[in-house]
Symmetry: C2
Subunit: 447 residues, 2 copies
């Protein structure tokens, strides 16, 4: 067994040598192949490492990207092209669109109505307070940037990660507890609010770039467009999708369900882009309005569930997004004391800002402290915001500078890393919610 | 019900109007989204139409591409960009790599050994004769092109489509008959031979382009490289892949099987490119050497079969290849009587060239006529060759001109379309092979 393990070394050396070769000669296409293979492998290796450390694998994928994107610090520039390759960008963008489509499919309007008022209040407070704190903090710490950047930082701090929060509650077996339902409902509403905020902030920045200024009318139009898009999606989503799937059912050719669903998702994403929203808002809306009822005929005919078919696509494409997001982090920025200070300040604001949620959460059996803690992770949505900011230009420079981007990624990593252990501890102390553990009166003792 | 049907019209009009809008404004990214959605929808719609006409859906996808790529003839240029968009090209290339990986996974070395000598002889004859006929015919009909193009045309005529042939035998319930096994075995060997031929021809053309000439030594090196690559893949494939999956099994993170398999496929494809072969040769080899035994631990742990997970990926990506292949056909070329004449001549050569296979096929219960007919479809492999030729330049012009490309696509469509009904008729006449139908002595009466 020992000899076998050691014999892997030559493979690793050969692999590195080949990587070096590939970087020099050869067509771009084949290099993209090796880039995808390396990104997938690195995502799984670091995902495994983080899993072993009881941290979410998504952080591992991010970390894998940071490593791959900064190999040039070790003198290896062969994979440097991945950061800006348009073909890989498309895969990454399809990956994040697919992720939001999946999240949308998991949520539905009825579910959101059920958790109701409590989740809504938690969500609104969880958006407003971190946004104000983010704006204020950035304005004090980096006074030489315009208010657009402050606003963007505020927006980055507003979003909660449905994925990571859901995962933590699921791992702890608490996804169906009152606390779990409030936090998940709030996280979903937060996503929608956050995406509207992103649309407005992006619109304001784009208006400023083309010489415009903060104009109440155009902001109102933007908000109206965003709400109108979501409203139309909610109103028309069901009839349009049921017609689409009825037409698709009439086709005799095999494998129609996945193609129809992907086309639906991509068209709605493109519609969102058309009205000035991010494509991911459209993807989320497409998933939200799609109800299993409209395609269950096709599902039973093809004998495969839509979500099961999306899974392999997501397994290929979604890591592309997280690895690429990580690859854009310039580690050299961390040599800058400002970036570290900013990262620390943002992390504190991100954590404190969401604790106000615990004050407004209500409902029988809801553990208030855990609600506040459950809202902490920023995860993928925060990263999506940061990625948008990096691409958005104002006065010739990006709204989010490399230093700020690095600080945001650090904040996202920290908030996501700190949540699982702290939330697990808090939920265990509030064990009264589940019949088996601890006395019920302990449940509220921490608030 | 009537009113409902009619109310779809406004949707269609709106969709077209929106397509027009999308073409004018908006970022490229969102246009790629709508292009993917339209390509998927068109692939399914035309796939359904061809299915209803009892023709293979893959032809429908090709036809969908021809329609989308030639909409500018109707004055609609909004989707013209798809023909040369590098992002869509990557999706198409991943699609064809995935297809060959799947075909490779379905075949295995033991299977190929079993059908043995008969399949090998059929395969060799089925490569040499069509190649000679293609070369000769093209040299006579288009004497002003260099012999490189003649050679390429010969190579295009040599390949048999495993996918379409397998599909036809499967639909007729004859996949396990002696005839079916010989034809499938020969088609698989043909693929490997064809891909070696493609590598050699491509190498010769590339050498000529850089000022070299037909050099026995360099052709030998190319053949040696190709055979060496396949030999190494066969020798090292099993130990390397079993080690890879053993390492992957040690990872605790979820969903490792698909990522590891895709990474394996992409790395081998890239290796093939490195030794001068097409990436698809690598993908086929990767599938061929991968044996379910090495990953069955992971399969049972993840409770999903690898081939089931590849299916959704192929459903998204493979139609991209066929639609894009069709989109590159310039219908205006068919106004040219030369293209039509060439298409006719190539089709005749393609059909007659493979009938020699029926003379050399042997074995108990093998229906010789059906072997010859079963070898006719050129399908995806012929299209892959044509696509390579279109990209290959010699003396400033592509080896395969637009006219020739159009003729090749027409030939592929015709050979693929004609096979299912003719083969079905032949197999039914030879019904003696199956216990239930017809007297056994009728089996050889057609040869």
């Amino acid at each position: 067994m020992r000899r076998r393990r050691r014999s892997l070394l030559p493979f690793a050396v050969a692999a590195l040598a080949i990587l070096g070769m590939g970087a020099d000669g050869g067509g771009v296409d084949a290099n993209v192949f090796i880039a995808i293979a390396v990104m997938l492998a690195a995502a799984k290796l670091f995902g495994d490492l983080f899993e072993r450390l009881s941290l979410p694998p998504v952080l591992g994928e991010l970390f894998a990207g940071i490593v791959l994107g900064n190999l040039d610090l070790l003198g290896f520039g062969g994979l440097h092209f991945i950061e800006h390759d348009p073909q890989l960008e498309l895969l990454a963008e399809l990956g994040v669109v697919l992720l939001l489509f999946q999240v949308g499919l998991e949520s539905n309007l009825a579910q959101m109505a059920k958790v109701g008022a409590s989740a809504f209040v938690v969500a609104v407070v969880g958006v407003i307070l971190p946004m104000a704190m983010g704006y204020g903090l950035h304005a004090v710490l980096v006074p030489d940037r315009t208010w657009h950047t402050h606003l963007f930082i505020g927006a980055v701090l507003s979003a909660t990660s449905v994925g990571i929060t859901a995962r933590v509650f699921k791992d702890l077996g608490k996804i169906d507890s009152p606390t779990g339902r409030v936090v998940l409902g709030a996280a979903v509403i937060d996503d929608v609010l956050g995406l509207i905020v992103l649309a407005v902030v992006t619109g304001v920045v784009e208006a400023a770039e083309t010489g415009g200024s903060l104009d109440v009318v155009s902001v109102s139009i933007l908000v109206a467009k965003a709400i109108g898009f979501l409203g139309l999606a909610i109103l028309l989503g069901r009839p349009v999708s049921s017609r689409l799937y009825k037409m698709a059912s009439a086709l005799r050719v095999k494998h129609v369900l996945l193609a129809a669903s992907l086309a639906f998702c991509l068209v709605i994403s493109w519609f969102a882009h058309l009205v000035g929203l991010a494509t991911i808002v459209g993807a989320f809306a497409a998933g939200l309005v799609l109800d299993e009822v409209v395609f269950q005929d096709l599902q039973s005919r093809e004998m495969r569930r839509l979500e099961e078919m999306l899974e392999p696509l997501a397994e290929l494409l979604t890591p592309m997004f997280f690895v690429l997001t990580g690859a854009k982090v310039d580690l050299a920025a961390f040599g800058n004391i400002d970036a570290l200070a900013l990262a620390g300040a943002l992390t504190v604001a991100a954590i404190i800002g969401k604790q106000a949620c615990s004050l407004v959460a209500f409902g029988p059996g809801v553990h208030k402290t855990s609600v506040g803690l459950g809202m902490i992770p920023r995860g993928e949505v925060g990263l999506i915001f940061a990625a948008v900011g990096l691409k958005l230009n104002l006065g010739g420079q990006p709204v989010i500078s490399d230093t700020t981007y690095a600080a945001i990624v650090l904040m996202v990593m920290f908030t996501t890393m700190v949540t699982p252990p702290v939330l697990a501890w808090s939920l265990r102390r509030a064990g009264g919610e589940t019949p088996a553990a601890g006395p019920p009166d302990e449940a509220e003792s921490l608030t």
